[in-house]
């Protein structure tokens, strides 16, 4: 943000999102051109394109922003970020909105309400073993959210097993205690977001 002086006031939704995003994300520079919405591979399936989401943020419409499925459908392809004519760090902003959405519990109203579940299952294994464990994550996530979809995954899963590309046991790193301590301290220092 440029060195303009502003009177003190309660932080807006935009202020909070910018503060929680590392580096200079430049959200205030958006001219609503729509390049991000046009470039996004999942843009056609989002409730709000990234541009529309930024307009909602600037309008302070917290409920809609944090319960939108938009950030959960972001695949982190970074097309938006490199094409944005105002050099806004759109993907990094999406990560922030995801975290805020979980922190406020608003993701539950989203049509992508199971998406955080996937991330949380992923993290469970990282935090307890130090490495990701595909079988475990897929099993935990699908059993909880898409149990009926499991049979459809069978052919692919069997293929992976046949080619010996599926690990059946998680790998635990030696320094797992240290990693746990690091992560605990981080959460203590900065809380949820």
């Amino acid at each position: 943000m440029a060195e303009a002086t502003t009177q003190a006031r309660t932080p807006t939704l935009a202020d909070r999102i910018v503060a929680a995003t590392p580096g200079d994300c430049r959200l205030e520079m958006c001219i609503q051109c729509g390049t991000c919405g046009g470039s996004c591979p999942s843009g056609a399936n989002m409730e709000h394109t990234p541009r529309a989401l930024f307009a909602l943020i600037n309008a302070g419409m917290e409920e809609q922003v944090l319960s939108s499925n938009t950030p959960w459908y972001c695949v982190s392809c970074y097309y938006c970020t490199v094409r944005c004519p105002q050099e806004i760090h759109i993907t990094d902003l999406m990560y922030t909105i995801k975290r805020l959405s979980i922190q406020e519990g608003k993701y539950r109203k989203s049509t992508a309400s199971d998406a955080p579940g996937f991330s949380q299952d992923f993290i469970f294994f990282v935090e307890n073993f130090g490495r990701s464990f595909e079988l475990g994550i897929a099993a935990a996530y699908n059993l909880r959210y898409h149990p009926l979809g499991l049979p459809k995954m069978a052919p692919m899963a069997f293929g992976m097993v046949r080619k010996n590309r599926m690990g059946f046991l998680p790998t635990r790193i030696k320094g797992i205690a240290g990693l746990k301590a690091i992560l605990a301290k981080a959460k203590e220092l900065e809380g949820q977001i």
Binding site: R131, M156, M160, G167, T171, K187, L189, I193
Partner: protein
Amino acid sequence: MKYAYYPGCSVEKNAAAYHNSTMAISAPLGLELEEIEDWNCCGATEYFSINRLAAYSLVARNLALSEKQCGKIDLVAPCSACFLNLSKVDAHLQEDHSLAEKVNLSLAEAGLHYNSGSVKSRHLLEVIMDDIGLEAVKAHVTKPLQGLRIAPYYGCMIVRPGYLGKYDNTEYPMSLDRMMNAIGATVVDFPLKAACCGGHMTQLNQDIALDMIRILLQNAVDNQADVIVTLCPMCQLNLDAYQGDVNRHFKTKFHMPILYFTQMLGLAYGMDAKTLGIGKELVDARQALSKIGVEVPPEEPAVKKRPPKEALPMPKMPEEAQP
């Protein structure tokens, strides 16, 4: 040349072929890769979605371990997402001092410390192209891949967004094209070479994910590729393991093998297919590879359709955009 090596979780099991082929070619290329001991997961695209400082600390542990074990030498990751996370964290720690402070406070709990900017993270492809060089890559070729038509697939995270500086063109990169060309293969034009494979979308929404994969495969088929060559385990998994699902969903008949660029290098260096992990792909590559197993005369270029005499000339493209 010596580097610290960060394999990443996928390379352990699902992308073992990538790891094995990387190790196989590292000797002739003079790449000394020292694996960081007890590295942990980079968090992929998941950890940043849940908790910021924890995610940065998770990645920073690897940077700290690398600095401690190997000193200030560059850290190489074969997986694009790992490379992205390592470079992103390092860049942000250099930019944001208060974040760096908090990360180091967290790392201190395990007796670790990371000096921002000490360890430069690189992708394996970049290291081979920029540090080893195309001439050296070419020098070890004993069995050029003549007759094999390759669609080089970069995916997103190696070329975008470039936290520590852009590597190659963000929309239409050419480095992998040049490498495959140098080992004798025919590189086809692949307009979607840097388009996204969908990442973890396969878990969240099969319809969107499978369509993204289908479009990529179709583009390669439309350009008469025999094989898609990739540089990221996620891309390989999505295009390979889900190809059957794509066929079932869309009633298509794709049979496009997806291999790693390190496997292609290994084949060109005359190495044994099994060592290189050929055969680990779900969509069998043997049929495509039979093209280079046998002495084949170079393909006659298809008769070019003569443009009508009224046709207007095309603009000339600059040098860097030519293979």
